[in-house]
Amino acid sequence: MVLEDAINNARKNLILKKNVALIDATGMYYRDLNSLLRSLDGNGIEKIEICNVYGQRYIGTDLDDHLSIDIYGTPGNDLGAFMKGVNITVHGNVQDGCGNTMDHGRIVVHGRAGDLVGHSMRGGKIFIRDDAGYRVGIHMKEYLGKRPAIVIGGTAQDFLGEYMAGGVLVVLGTNMKDGSCHDARFVGTGMHGGTMYIRGGVRHLGEEVEVKELNEADYRILGSLVDEFCSYYGLDAEKILESKFSKLVPVSSRPYGNLYAY
């Protein structure tokens, strides 16, 4: 069969060392790469290292939750889409839709991210060392014990936290000058749940969001996320936490409740 041939072909780029798999993804089609990953899943492999990744999509989708994957290069769109628990570390930048509708797991990016980080994610954590694009955390949500978190080390663009229904979204602005503002506009438009913590000023807020002072519980949540963030990138958490943060919360859990005539 064609697909099996492709996997066998892909296997030529595979080296197995005990429970670690090394893959050279040079020239590999995303479908073949992901089939290869699925074929390794559940065979005693615990760690997969993929090098020379150039835009292959959907890495981490439909894999078991005990795996950890190290990616060298630039994974393509929808990294970890619908992911249910894999730990992914990206040594490079990620493209759009990283963590799309992710349920569980962790993505740590040593670089920048494109648009739509964590679209509709419901669980797990995403850490981006540098900047991220538009609509980070759009429609992320929480329920019962699941509370997703996204931490952006740099800044993020317009519609940050749009339609946000739950979870925690942190933007640290570590690469910004002291006292400067994030450029993002329409931050929290349509937000109806969850919390954003933003270090540095916010230039333009959506209508459905209000700014509050952080209380002790907020500092606990923020502190633990910043600690974890800094542990991945060798940064000083205390120094980051010294600065002033603003807390953004929705004005109402029912932003559009008065639109209708009955």
Partner: protein, 504 residues
């Protein structure tokens, strides 16, 4: 502010027949009836009545009659009751006028102006009671060609790897209605009926309740812009996945399930916080082009290891044919078209009645376009929105559909009277509600039987009509527009439908 809106209906009670049993009081969820103990008499608050006929149906002595309020404004072909009432309501609330179910305006249906053929003399008709009739339908992408090989001992063997297919025993499926817009008991009824009848029910965008996972082989799970309940196990549970781009009743807009309907069970199934509005944005935020659509189609295929067909549902709009071509090229296994008469649990009435095009035209245009481009085999076409009889099903298939989706018809079989008040969440028939006091009114055992009865009845009628045309397999009806003739249609309408005039 004093409301100038007058009651739409008048409740009349024959006091000679009324036995003061108060069934009407208990059955009405709009608080229309009340009992006056002092005078031992039942009264009605006309302004609350929605004419759902629940009280009239359950009144043991048939004492209740509901009439349209004869106090009409002065007759006027332009300034109708509806137009005047809407303006008054909006002046008083400053809001968008909501409604439920499908468009109720005349002149937007073509089914009734299409007539089916029958055999006379030259090609004998078939009696389905004595001869085999094939309604089985496969939904999914079909290959461009089949490669066959002779193998020793095995005879002819199919070498082409087929894309995943859904096997339907009748070309009718239950269309998307979310848990939240309708009750769990209705979902149970639909799931059971689909399993029994060998067809499929669609979850809608509200997730799949845990107890229904066991019906997964007969479930189509939907992925909409809110991504409610979309979870790896949910995607694995279904037999197919449907990406919802649009809905016939409200093309181009999203939906709001109000927070008060997000109960603990709904919260769990949608996987969202308790009591907050469940907001479905108008677009899918990762789809702004056909290329993006392809990305989501393949994300879902990757998430389920290419084992399930992926449908894409759009509202029928002006450029449906070009859009459908893009959808097929994006890799969808089926295109779902939902026409302007498609139902809804809640939509702004102005959108429901003014946006979108009839399914008949969209279906004919899409089927023709996909044929012209030589890609019709790559995806199935499913027609939805305003199918109210088995004849409509057969006409849709003759116009080019592989199968149809029904939803309003399914709810009507459960008791719905199409009163169009689904958006209130107080459905007295226990259908479009999550109020546990009301949802008990649907017993899933009885509900499944009623739905299965409807499917059986329509299937028998389809076989009768096919037999009458001398056709014994639904495959031979599919896209066979010679079986149709139009009546009362313009040349242009006939041209788009690809149908000849009666008498031709």
């Amino acid at each position: 502010m004093k409301s100038y809106v007058t009651p739409e209906y008048i409740v009349e009670r024959d006091q000679d027949r009324c036995i003061r049993c108060k069934v009407c009081v208990n059955q009405c969820s709009y608080d229309t009836h009340y009992y006056d103990e002092e005078d031992d008499i039942l009264h009605s608050r006309n302004e609350n009545c929605v004419n759902c006929q629940r009280c009239a149906t359950f009144c043991p002595t048939q004492a209740i009659t509901i009439r349209e309020n004869p106090n009409h404004y002065r007759s006027n072909a332009n300034w109708t009751q509806e137009a005047i009432t809407s303006i008054k309501k909006q002046a008083e609330t400053g809001g968008v006028v909501l409604t439920g179910m499908g468009c109720d305006k005349p002149n937007l249906t073509y089914w009734d102006r299409l007539l089916l053929n029958a055999s006379q003399v030259t090609n004998p008709s078939i009696d389905p009671l004595r001869e085999a009739m094939e309604l089985r339908t496969y939904i999914g992408s079909k290959p461009d060609k089949l490669e066959l090989e002779m193998e020793e001992g095995n005879g002819v063997v199919l070498k082409t790897k087929l894309a995943p297919q859904l096997q339907l025993e009748t070309p009718i499926m239950f269309s998307a209605m979310s848990y939240g817009s309708i009750s769990l008991n209705v979902h149970k009824s639909l799931a059971r009926a689909a399993s029994e009848a060998g067809t499929f029910y669609n979850t809608g965008e509200g997730g799949l309740e845990k107890s229904l996972y066991k019906y997964g082989d007969h479930v189509i799970v939907q992925v909409a812009s809110g991504r409610f309940g979309v979870h790896p196990d949910y995607l694995d549970a279904g037999a197919a996945i449907e990406i919802k781009i649009g809905q016939g009743a409200k093309p181009g807009i999203g939906g709001h399930l109000p927070g008060e309907k997000v109960s603990e069970e709904i919260s769990r199934t949608r996987m969202i916080p308790l009591g907050t509005d469940a907001l479905s944005p108008a677009p899918q935020h990762d789809i702004y082009s056909i290329e993006d659509l392809r990305q989501l189609i393949y994300a879902l295929k990757e998430a389920t290891d290419y084992t399930k067909p992926v449908f894409v549902k759009i509202a029928a709009v002006h450029n449906s044919a070009a859009i459908a071509s893009g959808i097929v090229r994006a890799g969808a296994d089926a295109v779902v078209l939902d026409g302007v008469r498609g139902g809804t649990g809640a939509a702004p009435r102005i959108i429901r009645d003014n946006v979108g095009i009839p399914i008949e035209m969209a279906l004919a245009a899409v089927d023709q376009r996909l044929r012209d481009e030589g890609i019709r085999n790559q995806a199935s076409v499913i027609a939805a929105g305003g199918i109210k009889s088995s004849a409509d099903v057969l006409k849709a298939i003759a116009l080019g559909a592989d199968a149809v989706y029904i939803a309003t018809a399914a709810l009507v079989s459960l008791g719905c009277t199409v009163c169009q008040k689904c958006y209130t969440g107080k459905c007295p028939w226990g259908i479009a509600t999550t109020d546990l006091w009301l949802t008990k009114r649907i017993n899933p055992d009885i509900g499944a039987k009623r739905l299965a009865g409807l499917l059986r009845g329509w299937s028998l009628e389809i076989m009768e009509m096919m037999g009458g045309m001398g056709i014994n397999a639904i495959e031979s009806v599919r896209g066979n527009r010679l079986l149709l003739r139009g009546v009362g249609l313009t040349d242009k309408e006939l041209e788009i439908l690809g149908v000849r005039m009666v008498g031709e």
